[in-house]
Subunit: 279 residues, 2 copies
DNA sequence: ACCACAAGATTGGATATCAATCAATAAATT
DNA sequence: AATTTATTGATTGATATCCAATCTTGTGGT
C-alpha cells in the first residue's frame, strides 16, 4: 500500500464508478475523515487526486463534490475515448501477434458466454473490461493510464444520465471490431469504434435529476472496515440486495437481433433502459 | 488563484519544463517548504499533483524526485503523443473551417519569421506552441489537457537526453502537415506526424549522465518573490547568460535544406546538437 | 575490509489551532 | 409583512508542533 491518501482516493473512485456516490454529492472533509478514520489532511490529499482525475471538483472554500460534467464535457470525453481507441486499433492492426488476437477473441467469448448464462452482472464487467484489455495489448502503459482515466469518467457519466440503447448491438460490436481488425480492414474497424461510442452517447439525457442520493457514510460503508467484503465487483454472486437500494434492478432482457444499421434517428427496436453497462 | 498547492505545483512544473530541475533531482519537503515559505503539507499536496502528472515520482519514506523516465517510457510517451496528434489531425481534416487553417498558417508563418530573424528562442517556443494550437483547434478541452500533459512529459524528457537531429526539417514539418491536411491528404499527414516525432526520438540518447545539477533553491529562485521577473519564457531578449550555466549554448546554425527523406539510419547532414527545442 | 548496530534525518501522518469565507438563521428596518 | 442587514455557525485552507516508521549514514568492533 503506497500511501493512505492513495488508498482513500482508490476507494472513493471505486464508490463513484459503482454509482454509489453520484455527481454533485458533497464530499466533506470532516465527514470523510471520520468515515475513514484519518485526519482531514489525508482526505484532502485524496480529494486532490480525485480532482486531478476528473472525478471530483474542488471549489475554493466550498469543498469538494463528485464531478458533474456538462453535456458538452460528456461529448468531449467520448470523443477523446474514440480517438484513443481508434489510434490503438490502428497500432494493433499492424503490430498485434496471434496471441493478442486470441486473447481478444477469448474475452469476447467469455462475455458471450456470460450473456448466454443470463449472468448480466458478469457480462457488464466483461464488456467494460474489453476496452481495457484492448488498450493493454498496445503495451503502452502511458496510453493505458490515459485510457483508463477516460473510461472512469465515462463510467461516472453513466450515473448522471438515463441510458437508452440497444444493448445487444453494443455487445456484438466488440466481436466485429476484432474481426475487422484481424482482417486488416482498419478503416471499417475505426468507423465501428466511432459508431459504438456514438450509439452510447446518443441515448444520453442529462437533464434528468440525480437518483435518490446516499450520504457518503452509507455509500462508503461496504468499503470500510474488514476486507471490502460485500463489495460486488466481478463476482457473479446474486445476493438478494446488491448494490442499489432502489428496486429498479429490473431483469435485463437480452434479445439477440440480426445486425442492422443503427441510423442516428431510428431507435425504436429492442432497447432496454438500463444503468451501468454501456461499453 | 485557486489553491496555494496548485500554484506551487505550477511553479515546479514550470521549473521542470524549463530544465532547471532535472530528472532525479530530490524534491525535499522541508527544503521546498522553506523556499516557498509554506508548510510542508502544502508542498506535499503540490508534489502529489506533480506525481499525478507524471513529472515527479514519490517513493514511500524516501521522498519525491523529478521523474526520470526510462527509455521505454520515453518511447511510450512519444507513441501516445503521436497517436493523439494523428487522431486530432483526422478530426481537423473533417471539421476545421477556414479560420482554423488560417490560424495554423499564421502560426507557422510567425515561426518562420522568427527563424529568419535568427531569434532562436522565440522560434523554439513557437515550435512548441504549434502542437498546442493544433490540438486546441479540435475544441475538445479533455483532449487538450491530455495532450498538454504529454507535451510536458516530452519536455521533461529533453533534459534527460542529448538530442541530435535535423532542426530545419522538423520546422518544415509543421507547414507540410497543414498543407497536407487542408488538401485532404489525411494519410500522408498522419504519416508525417509519425515521422516528425520519430525523428525526434531517434536522436535520443538516454544513458547520458545528467547535467550539472542545480539545487532546488537555485533552480527556483527566479520564480519566487516578485513577479517572476527574470524568468525567460517567450521573451526573445538575449541575455548573455540565459538559463543554462554550462557554456555549450552554442550559436545554433540553421541551414535550410531541400526536403529530403530522413531514413532511420542516415543522419549525417546538417545536424546540430542542441537542447530544448525539438517539437 | 566487512558487517552490525546506533544515531540522525526524512517522510507520512495526527492533532490542535487560526483566519477567511460561505450558508443560514435571526434581527432590524422600511 | 417583506426585505435587507447582521450575527452566528460551519467548513475550508493553512500553520505549527509532535510522533512513529523508515531510510541513510556513520561509527565501531571483528
Amino acid at each position: 500500500m503506497s500511501s493512505r491518501s492513495q488508498a482513500i482516493a482508490d476507494t472513493l473512485t471505486r464508490a463513484i464508478i459503482d454509482h454509489r456516490l453520484v455527481p454533485g454529492c458533497k464530499l466533506g472533509e470532516r465527514e470523510l475523515a471520520e468515515i475513514f478514520d484519518v485526519s482531514r489532511i489525508v482526505v484532502r490529499q485524496a480529494l486532490i487526486r480525485l480532482a486531478d482525475d476528473g472525478l471530483a471538483q474542488i471549489e475554493r472554500n466550498r469543498g469538494a463534490f463528485v464531478a458533474k460534467p456538462s453535456m458538452q464535457e460528456a461529448m468531449e470525453i467520448y470523443d477523446a475515448l474514440t480517438l484513443v481507441e481508434q489510434g490503438v486499433a490502428a497500432q494493433l492492426s499492424d503490430r498485434l501477434g496471434p496471441a493478442g488476437w486470441a486473447e481478444l477473441r477469448h474475452h469476447v467469448e467469455r462475455q458471450r458466454q456470460a450473456v448466454a448464462d443470463g449472468n448480466d452482472a458478469l457480462a457488464d464487467v466483461l464488456g467494460q473490461e474489453f476496452h481495457i484489455v484492448f488498450v493493454r495489448l498496445s503495451r503502452n502503459k502511458v496510453m493505458q493510464e490515459i485510457h483508463a482515466q477516460l473510461v472512469r469518467r465515462t463510467t461516472l457519466l453513466r450515473s448522471l444520465i438515463s441510458a437508452d440503447f440497444d444493448y445487444c448491438n453494443l455487445l456484438d460490436d466488440h466481436s466485429r471490431v476484432v474481426d475487422l481488425l484481424e482482417k486488416g480492414r482498419l478503416k471499417q474497424a475505426m468507423d465501428l469504434i466511432d459508431t459504438h461510442h456514438r450509439s452510447v452517447v446518443r441515448g444520453y439525457i442529462m437533464d434528468r435529476e440525480v437518483f435518490p442520493e446516499m450520504t457518503p457514510a452509507e455509500a462508503l460503508a461496504p468499503y470500510i472496515g474488514g476486507k471490502m467484503d460485500g463489495v460486488p465487483t466481478l463476482v457473479p454472486s446474486r445476493k438478494p440486495e446488491k448494490i442499489s437500494g432502489n428496486g429498479d434492478g429490473a431483469a435485463h432482457v437480452h434479445v439477440h437481433l440480426p445486425k442492422q444499421d443503427r441510423a442516428p434517428t431510428s431507435r425504436a427496436s429492442t432497447k432496454k433502459t438500463n444503468r451501468g453497462l454501456p461499453t
